[in-house]
Symmetry: C2
Subunit: 185 residues, 2 copies
DNA sequence: CTTGGAAAGTCAACATCACTGTCCTATCCT
DNA sequence: AGGATAGGACAGTGATGTTGACTTTCCAAG
C-alpha cells in the first residue's frame, strides 16, 4: 500500500478517474499557487503591520457594506474573538466604521471608511493583477475549468455560501451621514 | 475608481480580458476552496498536536526521500529555524529519520520512518479524496484548465521549482540499514 | 599541515496570530 | 420580568514565523 498502489476504491482504472499522480500534482499546484496568490497583498500588509485576516475583513466589508459582525463571522469561518481583535484594530485605525444596526440595535453594521476603501483597493489590485494575468495566460476555457474544480472542492455548505454571496454592490454608499432613509434603497 | 471602474489598463474590453467581476469571483473561490482543501488534513493534524507545517514537511520528504534540509527549505519557503522546530518534533516523535549526508557530512538527509510514512499516507489520503472527487465532478477538461490557471498564477521561479520537482519516487527505500552502497543505486 | 572563511544545521529568545474559555453589556422578544 | 441573542473584552495556550548566535564540517589559501 505504498503510493504506487494504483488500485484504490476510487481509482478503478477507467478514464474518468484521476490518477494518483495527477491528484498529487494538483495538490502541490494548489499549495504553490496559493502561496503566490497571497504573496502580493502580504507584502503590503507586512509594511503596515496587518495580516491576512485584516485583508479578508476589508474585502468582505467592501463587498457587502453594512453587513453585521455575525454575518462576517460566518463568511470568514473564524472565532468571534479572533475577528474581534482584527476588527478593533481596523476601527481604531479608522479603516472601518462600526455602526449600530438600523434594524436591530444589538447588531453592528460594518462599513469601510474612505481610508479603509483605499487600502482595500490597494490590496485588491495587487491580488487581482496576478489573477487577471493568470486568467489571460491560461485562456477563458481554462478559467472555466479552474472555477469548476474550485467549486467542486468546497463543502456543500461553503459552496452555497459562496454562490449566494451578494452581487458586487454597485454604488455602495459608504457611511457618511447618520440620517439616511433606513436601509437606503 | 471604485470597483465598477471597468476601464483599467488590462481590461480593454476585448473578449479575452477577464472582467473585474470574474476576477473577484476567482479570488473568492480560491480563498474558499483553499480552506476546504486544507480542512481534511487539518482535522487529523489537530488531534495529534501538529500543524500544516508538519504535513508539508512529511509530504515533501515522502516525495523525495533523502533530500537535505536546505532543499526542503527551498521548497517550503520558510526560514531554516522555523523548519527546524517542526523537523525536531517529527524526529523526536519517530516520524522522520535524519541521517548524516553521504556526500557532504554537513548535510542531513531526511527520510520518513514507517510511522512517518503511515501518517503521511493518512493525511494525504484525506486530502486526495477531496481533490479526486472534485476532479471527477468537474471533468478532465476542467482539470486541465485548473492546472493551467494555477501554474500561470505562480512566480516564474516557483513554477520552475514546481515543474522540476522530482518524479514520484517509485520504490523509495526508507532508511533501515546503515550499511548501504553509499548513494545506493 | 594549519588556518580561516563559507556553508549546513541547531538552539534560544521573541513576536504574531488564532483558538478556547469565560464573563459582561446591551438589546430583543415573549 | 426573564430568557435568548449580538457583540465586546480579557486571560491563557499553542502553532508558526523571525532574528541572532553557536557548532560542525568542508574547502581552499598560505
Amino acid at each position: 500500500m505504498q503510493h504506487h498502489a494504483a488500485r484504490n476504491a476510487t481509482d478503478t482504472g477507467c478514464g474518468s478517474a484521476a490518477s494518483d499522480e495527477q491528484v498529487r500534482r494538483g495538490i502541490e499546484a494548489m499549495y504553490f499557487a496559493y502561496r503566490a496568490f497571497t504573496s502580493d497583498p502580504d507584502l503590503i500588509l507586512d509594511q503596515i503591520g496587518y495580516g491576512r485576516a485584516h485583508h479578508r475583513t476589508l474585502h468582505f466589508i467592501n463587498r457587502d457594506p453594512g453587513l453585521t459582525v455575525t454575518a462576517l463571522l460566518a463568511v470568514l469561518g473564524v472565532t468571534k474573538q479572533s475577528l474581534n481583535r482584527v476588527l478593533r484594530a481596523l476601527i481604531e485605525d479608522g479603516l472601518v466604521d462600526s455602526r449600530i444596526g438600523s434594524r436591530d440595535r444589538r447588531e453592528r453594521q460594518l462599513y469601510l471608511t474612505d481610508k479603509g476603501a483605499a487600502l482595500e483597493r490597494r490590496l485588491s489590485q495587487a491580488q487581482r493583477a496576478r489573477v487577471r494575468a493568470a486568467y489571460h495566460a491560461a485562456g477563458p476555457q481554462a478559467v472555466e475549468g479552474f472555477r469548476l474544480v474550485l467549486e467542486a472542492m468546497m463543502d456543500a455548505e461553503m459552496l452555497d455560501r459562496f454562490r449566494t454571496l451578494p452581487p458586487p454592490h454597485p454604488p455602495a454608499a459608504p457611511p457618511s451621514m447618520a440620517s439616511r432613509t433606513e436601509a437606503a434603497e
